[in-house]
Structure formats: structure tokens, C-alpha cells
Subunit: 281 residues, 2 copies
């Protein structure tokens, strides 16, 4: 892949971290951003070789691989608008946290001589913008590749190589459906819980009393509302299902406490302790 | 306080950490445990000056301050059984995570020449037993003193001095009711959430995909079921109320997603982000 040119579309925290790491690893990297100040910053800091705020055929068609680090809806619109500029044979991939609703739509209208392969870097911070760039966020993290029936082994291989160059610890291949169910439970549901917990009450007088549990549970309540509401809506069915599963378990514990049923409470605690042990790092 | 002798009852993780730190600070420290092996360990490791598995008048009456690190119910029984052995004028304090139901009961039957002052060290680990002892768990942590109408300023002062010697970062005084409401929300509710989340599904196949959010949210799902079910039941009314508050907020987010109501979702996310900022360490 060393000779292929990579275009990163969207130079926010994730896009800029991708671009910088790929460039450090010796690849030629271009960048597109909506803002000239972002392109300037990226060029000044050596994050990209070339950048543009205008999307022109001349600029885009030089790239063999296009990586989107845009929000999912914007990504779909961007491909619709500019796919005519893509080089024939280009591989298109992404970084979005929902897969089914993005991939099937893009594959439904994408030019047949270009291939879209979904990927999800499970790394992030409660930060945004190019200044938050950090090439170390991939260390120890998971990278998921989500091919559909339309994808070739070649494209899966390209996505895997990108994940390897970025330095992810574990690269897995799973279907968009498996991905979306898993992410609804592990990531989106946990964000729903953290947000709901912070909404419960004005808690500023509690800061001085808090222990680590509340702090840990609400770390992710510091949330980018535009991105996350979009992710939730684009994985709506799966997330609603996981929310219901959680509500049922929580209601079971609530009922046990209401009935002073210590045995059910202990049973749930034993199960949770046993299962949680597997997740220790 | 340097000349007063302190007895720590119960040499689990918290009791042993108390004893060791107080002894290191130059105080004379005795220990009581149900197991000889624990006393032997405590003596061998210099955690206490003297120890006993038998509760005798001769042993107990030499101490000016008695600190219980027993589970709440056992603590109440222990005082009932052995209060005749206490030195006249002794101060009794504790480490339990619920206050109202413990303090009022003990104060209702306690000898009038002995004073019970409640305290709650907000420090802990997902570990138990004397081998988990760690005198650094108090660094940076909160220590809460919860006097009732029956307490004297002298006893509050003694509890404060203990907190200072142990090295707590912040010492606060609040009523048992305020304490129990706060702890139901900040600590017990968060444990209920973590336990329920782990009970949702057999998640072992998810370990390789998980990001930090799920790990953070479920750290405390590794839980001592005997202690926590007792704590929940002893603060039942308060915890039930907080569970209901959380269920309502979670249901609000659930409904917003169901109705694809992005505005309500974003509003909740903005509120949670704003509130969470205060909790950054």
C-alpha cells in the first residue's frame, strides 16, 4: 500500500489523527475540510501533504483510497455529490460508528467501479476538532471491518492494512448487523445511561461528596450532541431494543429491592461480578 | 489525640487500612477480628499493636475510641452485645455506607456515658480482606461526618481528627438524611446501573470489541453481594426513590428516540455535558 495515495475527508479529531499517523508511516496523504483554517493548521503541523476546501475532480481523482471522517449523514451526501470525481478503482472507507444504515445506502448508489468498505475505529475522546488530534488514541484499541455481501476480499484487505498501519491492537471482521447490535449495547446504551443519569438532578452541590463510581459512570455524559443524536437515530431500532433489555433488568433489581428480596439482588450481583471479571484489562 | 488508644473492630480491607495508617501515625491501635489468621497477619505485618478474636471486657475497656469496620447489621449487633465492656466516656464511630438506619438504632440503646458518631470514608476498592489493605486509598478521597441531634461537638471533633490523621482530602459534616439521599444517588444508584447492565446479556463474546465506555460503566459491577445487598436494604426508601428518578429520565430519552425527536435528545445531551464538566477532576 506504500505507493497509494490517501485522501482523508473531514479533519476533525479522528480524521486528523488518521491523516497524521498515515503520513508519519510514509504514505502520501491529502485532506479535505470545510474550513481553510483547518487546512492551514494541518499543513503547518505536517498532518497532510496537500489540502483543499474545494472538492474538485482534479484534486480528488489523484487518490487511490478515500477515508471519510465525516458524520454519517454528511458522509452519504458527500459521496452522492462527488462520486463522479473519484478515481476508477478507488477504495472508499469510513470511520462512522453505525454501519448498516450507512453502508447499504452508499452501496446502493455508488459507481460500480469504486468499492465502499465499512470500518469503525473504536477509539475516541470527549474532544473534537483538529487541535485534539492524537496519534496514540489507536494504541490498544479495536478496529472493526464490516463487509457486506457486495464487498471483495481485496477491499477487506485494504481496510485491514489501514488498521494495521494506524496501530490498532485488534482488528476484527464482522457483519454490519452484528456490528450495529454490539455497538448499540456496548457504546450507545452506555451513553444513554450516562446522559440520563446526569439529567436526573442538578448535582453541582454533590461534586464535593462524589466518589469514583459516579465519575466513572458519567465520564461519557460529556457528549457531542450533534454527532451522538445522529448516531442514535441511524441505529434506532437496535438501540431501542437494547434500551428495553436494560430497562427490564433495572426494573428487576428495582422490584427486588421494593420487595426486600435480598436473594434476587445477590443473584444479580453474583452474575454481574462473574461476567465483569472478563472485562478487566 | 496522640495519647488515646484506638480499637478497630473488623480487619477487612477498610478496617486494616485504618489500623495500619493510625499506627503509622503514632497511635496505639488494637484490633478485633473473627479469625485468628487475620489477627496473626495483622500482628506480623505491624498493622496493629495488639489483637484478639475474643471480645473481653479486659481487652475492650482499655480503648478510648472504637472504630467499627463491620458490615452495618453486624455492627449494630456487636454494639448491643458488647457495649457493657466499653470504657466510660469512649467514643464509638464507624465506616458504613448508610447512616440513618444505623445511627438512630445504635443511639437508641447505647449506654449514656458512651457516644456514637457516624462517619463514612468514601474510599474503597473492588477488593476485600486484610491482604487488600492499602493506606493510600484515603488520599484525595472524601470523609463524611454525620452527627445526629444527640451528638456533641466533642465527638464531631474526634471524628474529624480521625479523618485528618487518615489523610482524607476533604472532610464534610452533614446530616444522616442528607448523607443517605446523596449516597443513594451517587453511589448506590450507580451500582444498581452497573449490575443491571452486566445482567443484560451473556457478554463474553463482546470483550474483544469493547471500548472504554462499557468498561468504565461496569467497573463497579464487580461487587461484594453480601455487603451491597445489605447497604441497599438499609437505605431502601432513599434508593427506591433515586431509582425511580433515573428510570424516568431514561424513559424520556427512550421515548425521544422512539419518536425520532432529535431536539429532546440533544437537549438532554447538552444538559448532561454542561453538568458533567463540574465533575472533572
Amino acid at each position: 500500500m506504500k505507493n497509494e495515495k490517501i485522501l482523508v475527508v473531514g479533519l476533525g479529531m479522528i480524521g486528523a489523527s488518521y491523516a497524521c499517523k498515515l503520513k508519519l508511516e510514509g504514505l502520501y496523504v491529502g485532506g479535505i475540510s470545510a474550513r481553510q483554517s483547518t487546512i492551514d493548521y494541518a499543513l503547518e503541523h505536517g498532518i497532510i501533504h496537500a489540502g483543499s476546501i474545494e472538492v474538485t475532480k482534479e484534486f480528488v481523482e489523484q487518490f487511490d483510497i478515500i477515508i471519510s471522517a465525516l458524520y454519517p449523514k454528511l458522509f452519504i451526501e458527500w459521496v452522492k455529490k462527488y462520486q463522479d470525481y473519484f478515481k476508477s478503482g478507488a477504495i472508499l472507507t469510513d470511520t462512522t460508528g453505525v454501519k448498516g444504515s450507512v453502508l447499504y445506502e452508499i452501496q446502493s448508489f455508488l459507481r460500480s467501479d469504486v468499492e465502499m468498505i465499512g470500518a469503525h475505529p473504536m477509539a475516541g475522546r470527549e474532544l473534537s476538532g483538529i487541535e485534539s488530534m492524537d496519534i496514540h488514541i489507536f494504541d490498544g484499541a479495536n478496529y472493526l471491518i464490516t463487509p457486506t455481501e457486495k464487498n471483495t476480499q481485496h477491499a477487506v484487505g485494504v481496510a485491514r492494512e489501514i488498521g494495521e498501519i494506524l496501530g490498532f491492537k485488534r482488528i476484527s471482521v464482522l457483519s454490519p448487523q452484528e456490528h450495529d447490535e454490539m455497538i448499540a449495547f456496548l457504546s450507545q446504551l452506555t451513553h444513554c445511561i450516562a446522559v440520563s443519569l446526569m439529567c436526573c438532578k442538578d448535582s453541582k452541590h454533590l461534586v464535593e461528596y462524589t466518589g469514583d463510581s459516579f465519575r466513572d459512570l458519567t465520564r461519557i455524559a460529556n457528549i457531542n450532541e450533534n454527532m451522538w443524536s445522529e448516531l442514535f437515530l441511524m441505529n434506532r431500532t437496535q438501540l431501542l431494543e437494547q434500551m428495553t433489555v436494560f430497562e427490564k433488568e433495572f426494573a428487576r433489581l428495582h422490584k427486588a429491592l421494593e420487595e426486600s428480596d435480598a436473594e434476587t439482588m445477590k443473584e444479580m450481583m453474583r452474575l454481574s461480578t462473574e461476567r465483569r471479571k472478563l472485562f478487566n484489562k
